[in-house]
Symmetry: C2
Subunit: 247 residues, 2 copies
DNA sequence: CACGATTATATGTCTAGACATATAAGTCAA
DNA sequence: TTGACTTATATGTCTAGACATATAATCGTG
């Protein structure tokens, strides 16, 4: 994740289509502040005249800007540059194996513990389910170039993902397995900071009391819980990077 | 065939428009897993027949799904459900004052230090600029119901935001001021964990060595640096929550 | 079999219209 | 002044075509 990089999009002499040019023109004016928040964008019929095209073409450009939340369209009134209301950052949380190999480092994986059991009340609370089905509880560690990268503590709900019972988590990390076997999921991430307890410190090879970044991820698929996972990262070496989206 | 004439006219009973219904139908099939990643979506001409509409209508539905990264469109080949490749979570990082008042708590603000100076080499490195202009350096604290919420350490580039020279940061938090005076920005957030040093511990009223969540935000506007800010949150009480977006 | 040329086809973009609908703005009466 | 009614207008959706373009498949040749 390079700093401030995806603005530069080379691609020298390419002829963009008209609606893309219209969209980019408007986007540029907004981003540079030439058209500040609240500013009314020219009406569709004015843009038709300026670009000498049909209304559907300018409509497509404006619709995409509206879908991207850059402008707001109001019937009879016109289209307006949206007022910044909150920063919403897009945080890319990759599969850990993919993340490490993408960095050009050697991925290592150690299964610490894996057991299948009937959900305890603590398990049910953590998964947010009320009935006591079977679950898999996994503890494992990810490393990059043989340096501990993160420890993982996971619970998988077998009533949602029965195929997980046959997976070999000694060989494949559960996150990667799930990513390839559960098609589309929703998730909630909670990020916090703690200091390492003895067990975490040992697994990450850091000092007890050293800071750790903790990510709790709760994943479900159409109202059914898939998995709950807690990841500890060494806080002084690991960083989460979230890219913008002003407004 | 009984629906053959439902096209052009009265039909006031149907609320959602047709293209939205098409989009929702497809989205539902993807999200439930009925159409798994890699599955080819019916061709436009098939959807035209199924929904008895023109190609532009199904095209609009599919284009929006493509813009939302839910499907991938390939010429001659068709449209395909996208394979999950990374979890990208949307992290809402509100203006701190807005965040606290939204929680129904009393917002408090204390300016600790504010000085204007010519950028030192450290300032220039932090802002990512090469020329030595004027900057404002601010340290302040936010509190909720009189409990310390976060400490802020900020640098504002006056060559990008000259108006900031006249702002009264003793009264208004710099984040809020910037949000209302700099129209559209891009930003990069870096999240990490540290343990509190003496100064931070004192400001946050926590113990030295307690975990802190650190957010570094680097903000610019069309290639010009606006501000760089570092926020320390007490890690055991503060949590960042990022909601989903599977795939 | 390998490989380049050709073809078929699904998407990409665009047009010149149409009617629907929400609503800002103006009009008029109480 | 205020509230109810009317009108004008910008966007929302849709059609039935058109040509462009990338590329998967097929075909032909060495």
């Amino acid at each position: 994740m390079s700093l401030a990089s995806d603005r530069a999009k080379p691609r020298a002499t390419e002829k963009p289509t008209l609606y893309k040019r219209i969209r980019l023109d408007i986007e540029t004016r907004i981003l540079t502040g030439e058209w500040p928040p609240g500013h009314r964008i020219p009406f569709e019929h004015q843009l038709m005249a300026r670009y000498r095209c049909s209304r559907m073409t300018v409509n497509k450009a404006l619709s995409e800007l509206a879908q991207a939340d850059l402008i707001e369209r109001r019937r009879r009134a016109g289209s307006f540059v949206r007022r910044p209301q909150h920063m919403s950052a897009v945080l890319k949380i990759a599969d850990i194996r993919a993340e490490i190999t993408a960095l050009g480092r050697a991925y290592g994986y150690q299964l610490i513990d894996c057991r299948r059991r009937t959900a305890t009340s603590a398990d049910r609370a953590r998964l947010g389910v009320s009935t006591a089905g079977k679950v898999i509880a996994i503890a494992c560690r990810h490393s990059a170039d043989d340096v501990p990268f993160a420890v993982e503590d996971r619970l998988i709900d077998l009533s949602t993902v029965p195929e997980a019972a046959t997976a070999d988590f000694a060989r494949e990390p559960p996150g990667s397995w799930l990513l390839h076997h559960v098609p589309w999921t929703e998730a909630e991430h909670t990020i916090s900071a703690v200091v390492a307890d003895a067990r975490t410190a040992k697994a990450l090879d850091i000092a007890v009391g050293a800071p750790c970044l903790v990510i709790d991820r709760y994943t479900w698929r159409s109202a059914r819980t898939v998995t709950a996972v807690r990841l500890h990262y060494p806080g002084e070496t690991h960083r989460l990077v979230a890219r913008f989206k002003g407004g």
